[in-house]
């Protein structure tokens, strides 16, 4: 009896299967799939009071969430996150009991299912910082929308580390997000009272943005609020009992205001779906690596064309209300399609200057939030 009591006292709790699956799902994007540090593939489970806390990290970002549980013995352990989710997901709905045994064996029982998983001590699991004072309150739905409008323009080029994230600017009466990869720039601004008295700027990494999307899209209430905080080296985003911690990206984000074109006077408004459809078709015959297409704006029409020595050539003409000077500019069609997908349905406004200068695209609808996209041309 004595040994049993001892093993019982290490950690034991019972949770609802569906709750556990939902919270474990959050950790999947964070845990390292190919890591040289095995413990980073694990999720830390801490049973305390009337809940269990789940923490996962890859040292760049971390996620902590909680799930109500009947805790019969407080304690903690780490287990492989993916394996645990894969297994728990297959269990029938109902109660799942988790018990820590000697040598970090973790026993999982549910109805007639019984499993022992190999766990690891929490001793070597990184300690994540605590959420500091809240700096700003942001609308969860708004932030989700803004991230979706800029994330595709974030650079994946590791050598340009200051571009590996989006700039978040919180002003007393508006919130701005900007991302660029050096070829194009996406800018979105929304009027909002976030409760700051002066401007706050932070560089949010691409991986953190991806996790925020996951976190925010699970919020059922679009009006829910996300608390934003920061310390010297981390950013904190908390919503609905879940906390995302992201290492602060260092470096100076480029001066985005300087690249916003001011003399683009060749303007045409077209239906987004019509432009996107033409681009998608024509780009099938663009050079496979550069995706280059040519846009020719002339009286009454916009012509989209491509050619590749390997596959052939293609063109399509869209009727357009345009009377200005003719202009032709080459673009990476993928860059244009990225924006058209993110802007949503409705008319799109295309603004050009010449074949050497940045073009600007924005939704033409009046009620749209301030959203603009600046793309450099290709020489073709």
């Amino acid at each position: 009896m004595g040994t049993l009591a001892k093993s019982m006292s290490q950690m034991e709790f019972t949770v609802n299967q569906a709750d556990l699956v939902k919270e474990l799902g959050l950790s999947q994007g964070v845990v390292e799939k190919k890591t040289t540090i095995p413990i980073l593939s694990n999720v830390l489970i801490e049973a305390r009071g009337e809940a269990i806390e789940l923490t996962s990290t890859d040292l760049e970002i971390g996620v902590r969430s909680a799930c109500p549980a009947k805790v019969s013995a407080e304690g903690s352990v780490t287990v492989p996150a993916k394996k645990l989710l894969d297994y728990v997901r297959l269990l029938e709905s109902g109660e799942v009991t988790v018990r820590l045994q000697e040598n970090f064996w973790v026993q999982i029982t549910a109805k007639r299912a019984r499993t022992r998983m190999v766990g690891m001590s929490r001793e070597n699991f990184p300690v994540l910082p605590q959420m500091p004072d809240v700096v700003a309150h942001l609308g969860a739905g708004m932030l989700l929308d803004m991230i979706g409008k800029v994330i595709f323009a974030v650079s994946s080029e590791e050598s340009r580390y200051t571009l590996n994230g989006a700039l978040l600017v919180v002003r007393p009466d508006s919130v701005i997000m900007v991302a660029t990869d050096g070829h194009r720039l996406a800018y979105v601004e929304a009027p909002y009272q976030a409760g700051v008295s002066s401007e706050v700027r932070a560089l949010v990494g691409k991986k953190a943005m991806g996790e925020l999307i996951r976190l925010l899209s699970q919020q059922e209430d679009p009006n829910s609020i996300l608390d934003f905080g920061r310390d010297e080296s981390h950013l904190f985003f908390r919503t609905g009992g879940r906390l995302l911690i992201s290492r602060l990206l260092s470096g100076q984000f480029p001066n985005y205001e300087a690249v916003i074109p001011k003399e683009n006077n060749r303007v045409v408004v077209l239906d987004r779906d019509a432009v996107a459809g033409a681009l998608r078709r024509v780009s099938q015959f663009a050079d496979e690596r550069s995706h280059a297409v040519k846009l020719q704006l002339a009286t009454g029409e916009l012509k989209v064309s491509s050619s590749s020595s390997e596959s052939g050539e293609s063109e399509e003409t869209l009727e357009a209300q345009y009377e200005g000077d003719a202009v032709q500019v080459g673009f990476n069609s993928q860059y244009l399609l990225d924006f058209l997908a993110a802007m949503g349905t409705g008319p799109v406004r295309l603004e050009f200057k010449d074949e050497q200068s940045a073009g600007q695209l924005c939704p033409a609808g009046a009620d749209a939030p301030q959203y603009r996209y600046i793309v450099m041309p290709m020489r073709i």
Binding site: S155, E157, S159, R160, T180, G182, H183, R184, L185, P254, V259, D287, R289, S290, A292, N332, Q356, A358, I374, V375, M376, P377, M378, R379, I380
Partner: protein, 408 residues
């Protein structure tokens, strides 16, 4: 099934020299530089052997060996400065002969070319017969010896040609590729260099048979995609990089580089920096001349003890600007130079793209200004030579050591 010939001229530079001076025949000959009579003895100039005759090779001399070492190995060897106009002229003759056998041929260097002879049996007969005919025609029309490897893949043709040397023809019967390769050391497989050989040795692999026995899965795990290609190569298949392209397909240059050997080894950081600046400008000039943009910059450093390092960096966007190449080369230099005396530095641009492509949003204006300035500089160079215009950093360079050492 393809039929591929690899024709490689035997000791090409030396053979050409022998045409002009038959007395050289059979003697140990080294092309690369003339000896100088200094203080009562013959001294080899700096630099390396461009070619060595078979007689010289018996003394252990090979191309790329420092001339001083060659002189030590064989003091009676004849050292010649080399006549590159003659080599070019004979190379053109050889190419003409190749072209008369098949339109699908590709020179991989001045004295070596692949011929895709697939489907030419009606015209030239069976592969071995065709190869013998080609061998004879090269000898008759140029007076130069060559060796030919015949196989179903370029890889095996290359290996067969090495085995056929000198002055031989070797055809590998289809189906016998793996058997031919099996007993050979792994270094014989094109694409396996010193580093890979070393890592393979750690795995207990010495011969191609050992390599094949390891299995593709394991090789891929250890070496990635190149490991998978290595495994396919053990069966005689063309795999990986250049071997994935058909003969005659990859006509564009794969890289552009310039390097220089100092007259006197130097550990002077400023001098090295200036030389890198000048080399970067030369490479960028050639990129623009050939309308290429490069993605990768490689720095090459050879120390006094001949230890050579190459370090590469891939750029965020392809470039043809002097400044971009120089900054990258300099960053690599700063990160990897150990401070000791350097004998040779080189700058190489690779990952070449034809398309000028995507313009830059953040520093586009700066780049455009540079472009205009450099185009102007290139025009001046076109008229007055490369040295007519220099970036300030390259002024103290010593690409032509003789002219600058005099001033220092």
């Amino acid at each position: 099934m393809s039929t591929i010939f690899l024709v490689d001229m035997d000791a090409f530079f030396v053979s050409v020299e022998e045409l002009y001076d038959p007395s050289l025949k059979g003697k140990p000959v080294v092309v690369g530089g003339e000896l100088e009579w200094r203080e009562g003895r013959w001294v080899a100039p700096r630099g390396v052997a461009a070619a060595a005759s078979y007689a010289a090779r018996r003394y252990g001399i090979h191309s790329a060996m420092p001339l001083a070492q060659a002189l030590r190995l064989c003091p009676q060897a004849v050292f010649l400065p080399g006549h590159h106009d003659r080599y070019r002229e004979h190379s053109e003759k050889i190419q003409e002969i190749f072209g008369s056998f098949t339109p699908r041929f590709e020179m991989v260097s001045v004295d070596e070319g692949y011929l895709d002879m697939t489907g030419t049996e009606r015209l030239w007969g069976q592969p071995l017969k065709a190869a013998a005919l080609l061998h004879e025609r090269v000898r008759c029309q140029t007076g130069l010896p060559c060796s030919i490897g015949v196989a179903g893949s370029r890889l095996v043709a290359k290996v067969a040609c090495e085995l056929a040397k000198p002055n031989g023809v070797l055809a590998v019967v289809p189906g016998q590729e793996a058997r031919l390769l099996a007993p050979l050391p792994v270094r014989r497989i094109p694409g396996i260099g010193k580093t890979t050989e070393k890592r393979l040795r750690q795995l207990g692999v010495k011969t191609v048979a050992d390599l094949a026995a390891i299995g593709g899965g394991m090789l891929e795990e250890v070496f990635g995609a190149s490991g998978a290609a290595m495994f396919r190569k053990t069966a005689g298949e063309d795999a990986g990089g250049w071997y994935d392209t058909a003969v005659g397909e990859a006509e564009d240059a794969k890289s552009i580089s310039h390097e220089t050997t100092f007259d006197i080894d130097t550990a002077d950081g400023q001098k090295l920096q200036a030389t890198l600046s000048e080399l970067s400008q030369m490479v960028a000039h050639r990129l623009r001349e050939q309308n290429f943009f490069a993605r990768t910059v490689t720095l090459k450093l050879r120390y006094s003890d001949f230890r050579t390092i190459t370090r590469a960096q891939t750029l965020p966007a392809p470039t043809d600007l002097d400044g971009d190449l120089f900054r990258t080369a300099m960053a690599l230099f700063t990160a990897h130079w150990n401070g000791s005396a350097v004998r040779l530095v080189g700058v190489r641009a690779s990952g070449l793209e034809r398309r000028p492509g995507q313009m830059d949003l953040l520093d586009g204006e700066r780049r455009q200004k540079w472009h205009k300035a450099l185009e102007a500089a290139d025009r001046v160079r076109g008229r007055f030579g490369f040295d007519a215009v220099q970036l300030a950093g390259g002024m103290a360079g010593s690409r032509k050591p003789k002219s600058t050492t005099g001033e220092e």
